[in-house]
Symmetry: C2
Subunit: 117 residues, 2 copies
Amino acid sequence: MDEMTQKLISDYLPMSEQSFLLLLCLTEPRHGYGIMQMVLEQSRGRVSLGPSTVYTILYKMEQDGLIEVVKEVDRRKVYSITYAGRQVLQAEADRVTELARYAHQVLAQNSTAVTLL
Amino acid sequence: MDEMTQKLISDYLPMSEQSFLLLLCLTEPRHGYGIMQMVLEQSRGRVSLGPSTVYTILYKMEQDGLIEVVKEVDRRKVYSITYAGRQVLQAEADRVTELARYAHQVLAQNSTAVTLL
DNA sequence: ACAAGTATATCGCTTGGTGATATATTGGAT
DNA sequence: ATCCAATATATCACCAAGCGATATACTTGT
């Protein structure tokens, strides 16, 4: 792990749910509009990314080398995650997993207090 | 689940890591300064909440009824989570857990691509 | 011809986290 | 006795991020 990637990780973490889902989408090549549909669908309507959100994030992540344009046909700009992006994504996935594990642990300890109220 | 609580949940979710860890801390009574130490310690130095962050969040969460002051001695204001707060906390824990599960699933499908690079 | 869907882009607002700063008290070290 | 660090809470102002609103333009079906 080079320090360049290390900097990206510390700059991007913790990541918003929006950015995280977007980056997860780009483990397969997709264009902006496709991401909007994908996220809406996969989250069963819970998370809705508007165009301003998607294109703002896409621009920033491309600048930072987390994603790249792999194809450009008609008006479609097809993005895909880079190797650096994958490492950031993995780091964020690890963080979220750890957070969930910790929360579960704390809530399990205090579960009696809930049911007794 | 009354609609009052439902509104709190949709207003607060998704929650920042800061707010989430703070709320998790208050499953046991603690004062602001104690929360700062607790989070720093439990996250092994990764997450550091400054005073402005802690007291800002405490104020807002008390206003919204997620937490309450249970004791006030000297300069210490001891807070604890309310029943409504617990439901918000549980909802956020569920969201994070689901997010981690989804991320794991997506990354497992594409794991070969990483190792081959 | 028109409406709806596809596709990208930008502006400006609001909110939230946070560094900086202020204030006051307490405990330990010199 | 004095001084510094730690404890404890509070406020202000800045910046970044998400996002609603809006604009533009092409395509497809009716």
